[in-house]
């Protein structure tokens, strides 16, 4: 099976302003994703995980390195467009990721309109279908984002991605600002989408507990580098890198019912 996305030698440097030094956000990352898999990218602040996720979908450009999509090198605008047919992105802040002056239906359906897929009626029905898939009502398409809660807005963002039938969705800390019960609803929705529609996920998070629950494979990032990459079970039972071990030790263990 061909790799869906293959990133090689990704380096991202931010130029320092004035007297500040240059920042190496990413120093040589090799990362690849297979279609349909659920990968977690875990790290603390400054690890570069969000930068990497943005580079994978092209909303930020790497200083050096290459991205291949289905085996083809991605450089031109056309090639990024092709990549974005297969890979969609969900943002962290639900209050900034939807245009406040567009209805939910317009936000979700704009991608379809741009691609010219089907008549307006067909597009509308796809939008409604996407809303149902994420647990909202088709009538919500006519409302504005302002009336929805954070959790609902994340669902709308998911619908916007899903309506374009992507093979993979990159989720950048999408549940981090949500209440626990709402977070659980979104996580279960992601699991459901993966299991029933085969949509792959790249799940970026600082919360090891969530990543452990959701992902088959995990990469651990620290200060711009991948320090460990393994399947979930092995990573937690037999961590190799010192930083991974340190991270695991710091996660609050909690108490289980019946303990």
């Amino acid at each position: 099976m061909k790799l869906l996305i293959e990133a090689q030698g990704i380096i991202k440097q931010f130029r320092g302003r004035g007297r500040s030094l240059d920042v190496m956000a990413l120093s040589g990352i090799d990362f690849s994703i297979m279609p349909g898999e659920v990968v977690g990218i875990v790290g603390e602040s400054g690890s570069g995980k969000s930068t990497l996720s943005r580079i994978l979908v092209g909303i930020e450009r790497a200083s050096q390195g290459t991205i291949h999509h289905d085996g083809n090198l991605v450089t031109s605008v056309e090639e990024w467009k092709k990549l974005r047919r297969d890979v969609q992105y969900i943002f962290q802040d639900p209050y900034l990721s939807l245009a406040p002056h567009m209805t939910v239906g317009q936000s979700i359906g704009d991608g379809l309109e741009i691609r010219g897929e089907g008549s307006p009626a067909e597009q509308r029905s796809k939008v409604e279908e996407a809303l149902t898939m994420v647990g909202l009502k088709p009538a919500d398409a006519d409302s504005y984002p302002a009336v929805f809660s954070g959790g609902q807005r994340q669902r709308i963002s998911l619908a916007r991605a899903l309506v374009l039938n992507p093979k993979m969705m990159i989720c950048d800390e999408i549940v981090s600002g949500l209440d626990v019960s709402v977070q659980a609803q979104i996580l279960n929705l992601l699991v459901d989408l993966h299991q029933s529609h085969g949509v792959g996920l790249v799940f970026v998070s600082h919360d090891l507990r969530v990543v452990k629950y959701l992902c088959e494979r995990i990469i651990v990032m620290h200060r711009g580098q991948i320090v460990e990459s393994n399947d979930t079970k092995t990573l937690f039972s037999d961590p190799q890198h010192e930083y991974t071990r340190h991270l695991l030790e710091c996660v609050p263990v909690g108490l289980s019912v019946g303990e």
């Binding site: 279960n188 699991v191 629950y213 959701l214 991270l247 609050p252 108490l255």
Partner: protein, 352 residues
């Protein structure tokens, strides 16, 4: 694995310690909306010296507002409708501004979620501490310096004398929070309120801060109130916990009891929906159905009734629910209508 709370596995009983803070029937209402349900409804708890009380809740639970009320720092738009807050004999709800100013920072201190926003960016660490010290006592410059270095060392701030001239923007999130804690503890308060102090910090930094709060609470015999939405953090740091939903306390007791034997359906739902280190897809998260009620629009009586998965028709009425007690741990109680059904459910769970 032993948690921070129980270094040798024993549950420490603090029942004999002095009560430092006593909140009784605290009710906070929205201004100009007499029909709205209170945002905080009849909150009652005590905090003793050397103990850490955790307050757990989600958005709209009233947990943050309650902590602000303890310092009478409510924002515009809400007011205390009923109840009393007594800190070492003084009633905060009745105190005038001068008394309150004297109390804040010296008797009762608070640390917040975002240390970056809580520290004045134009003041150095040394100046921040001296501001706080000077506000509450007439001490000399050399005493200020001595005390500043002392408290910075106590909170584990590296190289205090060298860093007195640092500005907050030069410090990491974890160090900023340590400075904020130092400022809060500088005047040796009896009561410390921590409102989600580690939520915006990295997990490796979080551990150190939790250990610090825990240690200072025990050693200085402070009464600590720790507000959080993260059950894992609460399990690490709180001796007792109260669970709030839509302004009501729905369950309370020793952390050990509440988290291992949750009785209220909301507590159970919260635990079932939070992923921890032992969650797997084979044992999926069970989110609580429905959504949180809007501010001021909670159902009357039991605030959780619309979403309760264990609701039985007929017995969950618009009347007020009552308290039920755990026979094993007398401090563990929860608010409900039917005791027997819940008890049998818990028995069947523990026998699995």
């Amino acid at each position: 694995m032993s948690t921070l709370r129980e270094p040798d596995g024993e549950i420490i009983s603090l029942a004999s310690n002095q009560i430092l803070l006593s909140v009784n029937g605290l009710t906070i209402n929205l201004d100009d909306q007499p029909d709205a349900t209170p945002i905080v409804n009849g909150l009652t708890f005590d905090v003793r010296e050397g103990e850490c009380l955790g307050i757990v809740g989600e958005s709209g639970s009233g947990k943050s507002l309650s902590s602000l009320a303890l310092l009478n720092l409510l924002p515009v738009g809400v007011h205390i409708g009923a109840g009393s807050i007594t800190a070492i004999g003084k009633d905060i709800t009745q105190s005038d501004r001068k008394t309150l100013q004297e109390m804040r920072g010296s008797l009762i201190s608070m640390i917040f979620q975002d240390p970056g926003a809580a520290l004045n960016p134009s003041r150095t660490v040394g100046k921040l501490l001296s501001d706080v010290l000077k506000a509450h006592s007439n001490i000399s410059k050399s005493e200020i310096r001595h005390r500043s270095l002392e408290i910075l060392t106590e909170v584990g701030f590296p190289d205090p004398s060298g860093r007195l001239k640092s500005f907050p923007f030069q410090l990491s999130g974890g160090l900023r929070q340590r400075v904020a804690i130092a400022m809060a503890l500088a005047n040796r308060p009896r009561i410390l309120i921590a409102d989600e102090p580690t939520t915006s910090l990295d997990v490796s930094v979080q551990k150190g801060i939790l250990q610090l709060i825990r240690r200072r609470t025990l050693e200085d015999r402070i009464g600590c109130i720790f507000v959080s939405h993260d059950l894992g953090v609460i399990a690490e740091v709180a001796d007792r916990v109260i669970i709030m939903y839509a302004g009501q306390v729905v369950e309370e007791g020793l952390t050990q009891s509440v988290l291992t034997k949750p009785m209220h359906p909301y507590t159970r739902g919260l635990i079932a929906s939070a992923p921890n280190m032992s969650s797997t897809l084979a044992n999926p998260l069970r989110p609580i159905p429905g959504t949180l009620p809007s501010v001021g629009r909670a159902p009357k009586g039991c605030a959780f009734q619309d979403r309760c998965p264990e609701r039985s028709s007929g017995s969950c009425s618009p009347n007020q629910p009552t308290w039920f007690n755990d026979p094993i741990d007398e401090t563990h109680r929860w608010l409900c209508f039917e005791e027997s059904k819940l008890m049998s459910t818990s028995e069947s769970e523990s026998s699995q």
